[in-house]
């Protein structure tokens, strides 16, 4: 115990030293005054002293050998239970759906709006999950495709007056084309190089949007984009918020449905295999180029679709919405939730979007907590919140299962 205290004491002293210039001294270079904030040092010292115990305790827990040989994580057990009990699964789906549908009745426009945003990020996360989680291609420029979709709608709508529903597929398709264009040259690159090239690509798209005034209206952006129309109905603000919310619910369900199917299809298997072992996968007859491009294109499609929705929802877009941080957030959703896992991505998106949003009360501390939480999450649960769960086949009742 004494040793533990000593360790914490050391940690506290170290951090007091570490944070000394930045936390304690505040210089006003104009009036040439120095403010000494010694209280901060005490806070840090006490905070770290206590935090250090918790940190070590958590680390120990994590490293402790698993006692039972057949230990199965909770999330996997839940998933397995649901897979084996279709009734329970249906029931859970029903409850969730009902909750989603009833949500606007109990909540105000602000809450609905926040939830709509969260749903959008779920869809974006699921889209990126195809590229990163399933196919194992680290993409740091995902937001570029989002931008492609958004600008497609913004430009087509403001110049030609094309409607939301018409542009939606166009935006998706255009993003897919961009996905393939990016995919081609970078296929040969491995992990980290792929990451930096996609990051560069994302930046290039944003910079072009910023600089090419004649095309994109530059940094001042495009305003006055039409909201989506719903069967020509005249909707007031609240109704519109609800309508977009329901549209996003539908969108999310369709996406979950499609991504789920993709995952358990011939193509989905090929992605997983490619992620696991590229060479073996090729040797088993899977075309690498084709499969990777397909992942890029499909991932981009969802980003493009969401881009269109984004432009229609905010009615104004400018390049500032498509920065690297945005890509990083979407990527974090995927990794935090658990790569390749649909429930994981959903949970990840809810946490990443709702947490900072509801933390708005702490306004200025929001981002620091966000950053810190990302680190802590990775340190204590690097595989993500939800473990990937593979579908099982039963060959006695093979017909019903596969047919379903």
């Amino acid at each position: 115990m004494a040793q533990e205290i000593l360790k914490s004491l050391k940690a506290a002293l170290w951090f007091m030293f570490l944070t000394f210039p930045i936390m304690v001294i505040k210089v006003n270079t104009v009036y040439k005054t120095i403010e000494w904030r010694w209280m901060n040092m005490i806070f840090i010292g006490v905070g770290i002293f206590v935090g250090s115990f918790i940190w070590r305790w958590l680390l120990n827990r994590k490293d402790r050998p698993v006692a039972k040989k057949d230990f199965v994580p909770v999330s996997t057990r839940v998933q397995a239970y649901l897979a084996e009990n279709p009734m329970a699964k249906r029931a859970l789906q029903g409850v969730l759906l009902a909750a989603l549908l009833c949500f606007p009745i109990f909540m105000d426009a602000y809450q609905i709006n926040i939830f709509t945003v969260a749903l959008m990020y779920i869809v974006l996360g699921l889209g990126l999950n195809i590229v990163v989680g399933l196919a194992g291609l680290l993409d740091l420029g995902y937001v570029a495709f989002y931008a492609v979709g958004a600008y497609t709608y913004a430009l087509l709508n403001t110049t030609f007056g094309l409607s939301f529903w018409l542009v939606l597929p166009i935006g998706g398709a255009l993003a897919a084309i961009f996905g393939i264009l990016l995919g081609f040259p970078v296929l040969r690159l491995r992990g980290d190089y792929l990451a930096i090239v996609t990051l560069g690509f994302g930046e290039i798209i944003r910079l072009v949007l910023e600089n090419w005034n004649d095309f994109s209206h530059g940094p001042s952006g495009i305003a006055g984009i039409d909201k989506p129309d719903f069967f020509g109905l005249e909707l007031n603000l609240n109704q519109m918020t609800d309508a977009i919310y329901y549209m996003m619910v539908a969108f999310t369900i369709i996406t979950i449905f499609f991504v789920g199917r993709l995952q358990n299809s011939r193509i989905g298997r090929a992605w997983l295999a490619l992620r696991e072992d590229e060479i073996a996968c090729q040797a088993m007859g899977v075309g690498r180029t084709r499969t990777k491009l397909m992942a890029f294109a499909l991932g981009a499609t969802w980003a493009g679709l969401m881009g269109v929705v984004f432009a229609a929802k905010t009615t104004f877009i400018n390049p500032a919405s498509f920065t690297f941080l945005e890509s990083a957030i979407i990527l974090s959703i995927v990794v935090l939730g658990g790569m390749g896992s649909i429930p994981g991505v959903i949970l990840g998106a809810l946490i990443m979007i709702l947490l900072p949003e509801y933390m708005r009360s702490f306004s200025e501390y929001r981002m620091i907590v966000f950053g810190g939480a990302m680190v802590l999450m990775m340190v204590f649960r690097p595989q993500g919140l939800v473990s990937n769960f593979r579908r099982k086949y039963s060959f006695h009742g093979v017909d019903e299962r596969l047919g379903g």
Partner: protein, 262 residues
């Protein structure tokens, strides 16, 4: 072409190093052929050239196509080679560890299936039927190899010997005309090796496919193969029946070493 695989003057250079030096080899349908030689002789490199993982520096690799004509497959990507009917396993097991056993085998089936994105998304009748058929065929393959009980296990959870078998199952799922096995018995204990010998022979007999294998276990090689090629330092130094090889002084000197009497 009457041979299922014909390799002529295959040469592979890595930088200045010549790993394979004008090797000739052929395999007839339904034949079991072994490729042996000391470690570092270039056997695996030879395999990798044939299966498209490396593009050989020189030489021809010919595969007989369905209508009997020969197709030169040099520089084909591995998946195209597989489509041509060459299935393979790896020296150091390369399964997809986080996929189930059945899924591993179904990857082998990949190139024989046709479902596209549309099919995946909407799961139409044709796709469903295809998936069902594929899953059942894969299951049948697993049954043949005695792995059907483990079909929902993750590949990484299988015992070592079963992982080796799973690699073979996966290669079989590509519906090959010829199977290339890279040290299938490596790491197996004697009983397992005996079982493997039977298994390989059974596969040849029931599936009617040719087998080319690299192996160190001389007992297995001598038992199983109809013809043997011997490589050393990138060159082919001998070929013939097991009997011939066993008595070839060149082989004994190069491969077994002079004072190693194992």
């Amino acid at each position: 072409m009457e041979n299922i695989l014909e390799v002529k003057g295959l040469t592979m250079d890595f930088g200045g190093l010549r790993a394979v030096d004008s090797v000739d080899l052929y395999v007839k349908p339904k034949e079991i052929v072994a490729l042996i030689g000391p470690n570092g002789a270039g056997k695996t490199t030879f395999f990798n050239c044939v299966t498209g993982i490396y593009t050989p520096t020189k030489g021809d690799i010919l595969v007989s196509s369905n209508n009997g004509s020969a197709v030169r497959i040099n520089g084909f990507k591995p998946n195209r080679v597989t489509e041509r009917g060459l299935g393979r396993t790896f020296q150091n097991i390369r399964l997809f560890p986080n996929m189930t056993v059945l899924e591993n085998v179904m990857i082998g089936k990949h190139c024989r299936l046709s479902a596209k994105i549309f099919g995946a998304l909407f799961r139409d009748k044709k796709t469903r039927a295809e998936e069902l058929k594929a899953a059942q065929e894969c299951y049948t393959i697993l049954e043949k190899l005695g792995l059907e009980k483990a079909c929902d296990e993750l590949a990484s959870n299988l015992p070592y010997g079963d992982q080796r078998k799973l690699e073979i199952a996966r290669a079989l799922a590509t519906e090959p005309k010829m199977l290339l096995l890279d040290e299938p018995a490596a790491g197996m204990n004697p009983q397992e090796t005996v079982e493997l010998t039977h298994l390989i022979r059974r596969i040849r007999d029931t599936e009617q496919i040719a087998i080319l294998l690299i192996e160190h276990d001389m007992k297995l090689v001598m038992n199983l193969s109809e013809r043997i090629y011997v490589m050393d330092h990138g060159q082919k130094i001998a070929d013939g029946t097991p009997m011939e090889i066993r008595n070839n002084p060149e082989v004994i000197k190069a491969y077994l070493g002079e004072d190693i009497d194992a």
